[in-house]
Amino acid sequence: MIKLFSLKQQKKDEEGTARAGGSQKKASAAQLRITKDLNELNLPKTCSTEFPDPDDLLNFKLIICPDEGFYRGGRFVFSFKVGPNYPHEPPKVKCETAVYHPNIDLDGNVCLNILREDWKPVLTVNSIVYGLQYLFLEPNPEDPLNKEAADELQSNRRLFEQHVQRAMRGGYVGSSYFERCLK
């Protein structure tokens, strides 16, 4: 047990003459953790990161260029925003490239369980990268965010594939326009 009464009495009387120099401002726990995450980032060869400001490790972009599956040849950019409550809360991830995908809507919202309901503090940025990469290899029509795309994937795979291709080359699928995103 700490004996505050005996320990602190003199010390606090001298207060006001705070320790000379003042020490350096500490990095936040979120900052320490993201530094660790990024230093150990082990990206698959289809992925790369971009840091607009290398001093700001809390905001960055992930670029995925799938080399197989429906989305082969495309280039998809995701923005990551890591908040002060990381890793208690997951980073906010948005897809900045318009994509015709069952689990990504036209506003860039991504339906990936570990980005919301299944997030746990032991997960890392790497887990999210692999989760996102997996979405491109195995779009999941069971959990649709773009319902039209999901229904199509289930009912007519060929048509879905054509539409994905059209969207990636740049063009309309239904009434939605997609910018070209081929590499």
């Binding site: 047990m1 009464f5 120099g21 020490s23 530094t35 290398p54 369980n113």
Partner: protein
């Protein structure tokens, strides 16, 4: 004033504290084994001990009242909030005429007026507005917060005030105990954190329940609950329509925002055959509101205030160290020893020292980290904090950062803004956490370098 009257006033003063005196001036079977009864202890509480109360809400009002009535006189209260109508049922230091005013100021004014001799001081600002010097002046910090971010920040601040001796043992006089209370409806907890000695907020972060979230695809396509409709408007529709312009984030405290969300959520509910989307529910989902219960606050604040008193007087053993209280069905309470995490990012981060010449380059640091027997790292990522801003010095594992920080390796560390005594943060696969390393220059001549 006649001598008779003076006598009465003194009598009153004597009687006012007699219960406290019984605790502090006599020994007893429940006393701490090292406790030495003495009248000086009450003097310390009254004239010397400085306590900080963080938050002047439900818990804060109780804490301030409790501590002031226990004899603490120098109490600082910090809270950024202003008083709202809905606070008045439990935040009993406030009146209807106080609505819109600072919680900290009103609470302090009330208590100073009501309890003669009490010298409470208010700070109407955020905890982040105050610096190390402010926090260092206190003997004890007690908090009644509703936010995990704020708790973590405060925890980090108190950890950063710790001083370690050369043999890496803790200098106990740098420890400022943190008593933390929290309530949620009929449940609550009170805990004691001795920074650097017992489990801290960060050690037990997984004890906090995760925020309630719904799968995005459910709220987007197959909503079943009224909450799904509100969540949809909050997560998707707000960003899409930006009713107050793109730069205005949704504010759960703004009645106009809540009304807008309610309207849209109701439209959505009708479309999916869902009922019961009400204003209250909308507000609840937006702000994650759990009704506050005055008696839970009173019980938890009492437990916290008792711990503060025990810390200040050493009269009894403190709780060890985490008490939970559940009054939702009957009353249940349990105290357990929350254990420290040996790899905790906040409290196990005892700084290590790296000695080098003052004209060394960043490459020297990098090489030392890889080759020095004390470190033997594989590919350290090095960052620092300069004037409160994070700076990435070198990180080899992220290609885009490596390219832009490579040139730093050739630079002298003093050119990079580092100085004798500066701290660098190093992450590496060989350590469970990012570690802090203090630079120590060999030559003692140019020590007081420019910052």
């Amino acid at each position: 004033m006649t001598s008779g009257e003076t006598q009465t006033v003194n009598d009153y003063q004597q009687r006012k504290w007699q219960h406290i005196r019984k605790l502090l001036e006599r020994s007893g079977p429940f006393c701490h084994p090292d406790f030495e009864p003495s009248p000086e202890i009450l003097d310390f509480v009254m004239s010397c001990c400085k306590v900080l109360i963080v938050g002047a809400g439900g818990l804060g009002c109780e804490l301030l009242k409790d501590l002031a009535l226990m004899g603490f006189k120098t109490i600082h209260v910090i809270d950024m909030d202003t008083i709202e109508l809905s606070n008045l049922n439990r935040q009993f230091l406030f009146r209807k005429t106080d609505i819109g005013l600072s919680k900290a100021k009103c609470a302090v004014e009330f208590v100073n007026k009501r309890i003669p001799g009490c010298k409470a001081v208010a700070h109407h600002c955020t905890i982040q507005d105050m610096d190390e010097g402010f926090y260092r002046q206190f003997h004890i910090v007690v908090c009644g917060l509703d936010s995990i971010v704020a708790r973590r920040w405060l925890n980090g601040m108190l950890m950063s005030l710790l001083q370690y001796n050369d043999d890496r043992s803790l200098d106990q006089s740098s420890v400022i105990p943190l008593v933390d209370g929290g309530t949620e409806g009929f449940k609550g907890n009170a805990r004691l954190i001795l920074p650097g000695m017992s489990a801290c907020i960060e050690c037990t972060l997984d004890l906090y329940p995760p925020q309630k979230t719904f799968p995005l695809c459910t709220i987007a396509n197959t909503p079943r609950l009224p909450e799904h409709c509100v969540e949809y408007v909050k997560v998707i529709q707000w960003a899409k329509e930006n009713p107050w312009g793109a730069s205005t984030p949704l504010d759960g405290d703004d009645p106009q925002h809540v009304a807008w969300v309610l309207e849209k959520a109701q439209e959505r509910a009708i479309k999916h055959g869902i009922t019961n989307v009400t204003y209250r529910l909308t507000q609840g989902v937006l702000k994650n509101i759990i009704p506050a219960v005055a008696s839970t606050n009173a019980a938890i604040a009492a437990a916290c205030a008792t711990e503060v008193f025990k810390l200040a007087t050493s009269c009894c053993t403190n709780i060890n160290n985490y008490m939970v209280l559940n009054m939702s069905e009957g009353v249940y309470s349990y105290t357990f020893n929350a254990e420290r995490r040996p790899d905790c990012v906040a409290c196990s981060n005892t700084t290590r020292v790296l000695e080098l010449e003052s004209d060394a380059t960043l490459q020297t640091i990098y090489d030392k980290l890889c080759e020095d027997q004390a470190f033997l790292m594989k590919s350290p990522g090095i960052t620092t904090v300069i004037n409160g801003r994070n700076k990435t010095l070198y990180m080899s594992s992220v290609k885009s950062i490596e390219e832009r920080t490579r040139d730093n390796l050739k630079k002298k560390i003093t050119e990079l803004g580092l100085y004798n005594g500066a701290e660098i943060l190093v992450a590496d696969i060989t350590t469970p956490n990012t570690i802090t390393i203090k630079l120590k220059f060999d030559e003692n001549i140019d020590v007081d370098m420019t910052r």
